[in-house]
Symmetry: C2
């Protein structure tokens, strides 16, 4: 087993070696731009790690791993259009740098490229891999739609919110962990635990993302802090804070929810309510619960304990990260 | 063998039975809307016909045939956004009816649904089918990019124009004809001729499409006539007309190329130049040449002549159609 940083550097090297200088340039340049922005490369790095856990050679996993990373980036490109985002990983979003049409079409081509990579797995398992990947890809779209729907709804339940982040974020991580298991002919039980570990830690990951959007720092997170607050995004923080019995805090929230422009004062005020109403504490506790569930599945994986260390470390990193 | 109308009605019935009422509704309703607009269903109908030519049961081809039709419609949805089109098949385009975000996201989900359908083929051939489909899907994006690039270029060569329509339109038809051949374990030679027949008749199809955009009638074509002329679209008609030695005609063209709004007078004037400069005649002759090439490949297909009738009839229909 290598360290997660080593897997990450293998992935990074492979991404930088991608042949993306084909014609027409206006299709491929934007893809090269977004793929070569520095990223955490979480999904493909974990895929390499799980492959290693099962003794699968790197050559068998690297192509689908890159495919998953391209797919993930494709979803970011199209989401950034829909969310009108201008910054991604501290740099201009693709459509902001190259225009709407490039955002749509280069995104489409990325989705196809991801399939091309994923289809390259061994023919005996290609249909099993595609089955979980297709299902996941549809769910990611459903999650993004739910996220957009929430913007227009007055209230969203905690259950709906958790379902949304499961679909939008967690299932792709779960799918990424399962694919190397499928390629290594792992048992049905192991495939289940790999998927569930990924799903639970993926939900924890997104909750932490929401926490960082309000309580992180721009230097660490790489994007403007307080975006969710200014956009009145219905995160668990806001949903919980809205239920506060403190009338004064509730009034502050309700007043600020009337506006949706960027406003420093709003960010300060709302963050204070998140803390005073214990919504922040509640959200952190929720994240811990999902972390613990993920660990329960990790424990049941029929792989030597020392080989699982990398996944244990990854799970702790998720809940302790500041970026 | 059945008639093309019978194959078409089988496809239509299958499309109308598609389960698209899942949640979230805002994702699936637009897909249902666009898929259930009346269409020619050319690709899936031909796929059923080719399957029949090789004695392949309908149950083996119907899913990938629907997959190809969904993919085709996905490309229309995203192209309509990029081209700012408001009408499609005489009805509102998807993004015009449901908004930009629906256009992007429902389109993305359609692309995944098309993969889901195409992946359902027999496991022994799934990788062969996906190889040609993936390649084709990338080429369709490249063709759309070239098409957009042409808008910003002062001149486009006939070679570039033909390459663009080959990628944007013809390769998907070629791929559609090849897939049932792959499923039926047709010979390499037959697979080649099926593909090339599709590619050549696909190019002829697009040339006819361009002719109809200027010389068809709104009642028959289902969209406003003269759109290409008003947008100064660099079709073969325009590219050829620009080379006219008649200075007077050339001046008319160059004057009108300064504007790009909808203008009845412009349409009349430019059409007259297309005719007087023999650009229309040249374009019709070009289409005939591609038709003849397609027939040459059809003749070499190792299938009983009477079984090929449906493809001969289809090819004649393409060049004689008025819709």
């Amino acid at each position: 087993m290598k360290s997660i940083e080593v897997y990450r550097s293998i992935v990074e090297e492979k991404i930088h070696a991608l042949s993306l200088s084909n014609a027409p340039q206006k299709l491929y340049k934007p893809i090269e731009y977004i793929m070569k922005l520095e990223g955490k490369r979480i999904r493909p790095s974990l895929m390499l790690a799980v492959a290693d856990m099962y003794g699968l050679p790197e050559t068998d996993i690297i192509e689908p791993a890159i495919g998953i990373e391209i797919f993930h980036n494709f979803t970011l490109v199209h989401d950034d259009i829909m969310d009108k985002a201008t910054l991604r990983r501290g740099k201009e979003t693709l459509h902001h740098a190259f225009g709407l049409n490039a955002g749509i079409l280069s995104g489409d081509a990325m989705q196809i490229l991801s399939y091309q990579k994923i289809c390259s797995v061994h023919h005996t398992v290609v249909q099993d891999v595609l089955k979980v990947f297709n299902q996941t890809a549809v769910e990611v779209c459903e999650g993004q739609q739910m996220d957009m729907d929430f913007e227009e709804e007055y209230t969203v339940s905690e259950f709906e919110y958790l379902k949304m982040i499961e679909l939008k974020t967690a299932v792709l991580l779960a799918c990424s962990l399962k694919i190397p298991g499928i390629l290594a002919f792992a048992s049905e039980s192991d495939l289940h635990h790999l998927y569930e570990f990924g799903r639970y830690i993926g939900i924890a990951f997104q909750i932490q993302d929401d926490l960082l959007d309000s309580f992180g720092s721009v230097a660490q997170v790489g994007k403007r802090i307080g975006g969710d607050i200014c956009n009145n995004k219905k995160t668990l923080l806001l949903l919980k804070a809205m239920t506060t019995p403190n009338k004064y805090d509730k009034e502050i929230l309700e007043n600020w929810l009337q506006t949706s422009e960027y406003n420093e004062q709003k960010i300060q005020d709302v963050k204070k309510v998140f803390e005073d109403s214990f919504a922040k504490k509640y959200t952190e506790d929720k994240m811990m619960k999902y972390y613990i569930k993920s660990i329960e599945h990790l424990e049941q994986l029929s792989v030597a304990k020392e080989k699982k260390t990398i996944l244990y470390d990854f799970a702790s990193l998720i809940i302790n990260r500041t970026y």
